[in-house]
């Protein structure tokens, strides 16, 4: 199995495992863990408008 196939298999497996965790644990429990990912990523996100639009491929979007 190549790297891409291996990566896809692992990704799908994680999605299945995590969805099972969400179904079998309280909302407070899974959301607390999910928030570690979300809040830390948003906290470290720091870019200008121009950088953001460039990243999104929306370079003509500032008037």
């Amino acid at each position: 199995m190549g790297f891409i196939e291996e990566n896809e298999k692992e990704r799908k497996s994680f999605v299945r495992k995590w969805a099972k965790y969400v179904r079998t644990h309280s909302d407070k429990d899974w959301s607390k863990q999910q928030n570690v990912i979300i809040n830390s990523a948003l906290k470290s996100a720091n870019m200008t408008r121009e950088q953001f639009f460039k990243m999104k491929g929306e370079t003509n979007y500032v008037r």
């Binding site: 969805a19 969400v22 909302d27 899974w30 999910q34 948003l42 408008r49």
Partner: protein
Amino acid sequence: MKFIDKNTIEIDRELSELDNFALDFVKILEEFAKYVLVSGYVSILLGRARVSEDVDIIIQKIDFSTFQALYKELKKNNFYCLNAEKDSTIFDYLSDNLAVRFAKKGKTIPNVELKWIKHKFDKLALEKTINVKLPKGNLKISHLELQIAFKEEILKSPKDLDDANHIKLVAKEYLDNKLIHKYKEMLSGFY
């Protein structure tokens, strides 16, 4: 996560920064326009373990004076538009069927990507919503069958396929699989 009925989900979750941001924006928006949340944030709200830098929102078309009132209220609550400052310019974007983005002052992320309904699938999403009850307010999301069909039939990126799979797994007893199939057929003929 409780699926109360076809149109209501209750999630007693710890709110993320993204949830609070979406709730703050929607609290203002819903006073001026009918709206629906679509795309990646829907799966994140339902527990998907990933982040998104934006929250996609579709709204009904509104006239300029309503938009002016909405924009005034957004500014009053510390939001700004990333695309332009002048209300008429932002309104022109929407009128040209382009999305505009709003964030909290001093930030670019997270932001709301706001657009008008463009076609029959946007209209369908706006008409058939699910009310998600959260500890600090409610959010209206698109019905899940349409979200899954769109991600599996049109978008198809690994991220979108994983989003669709997550929704299918957490809501499996409540989904109408025939409807997902019907939407996929409709979408493949449309795009």
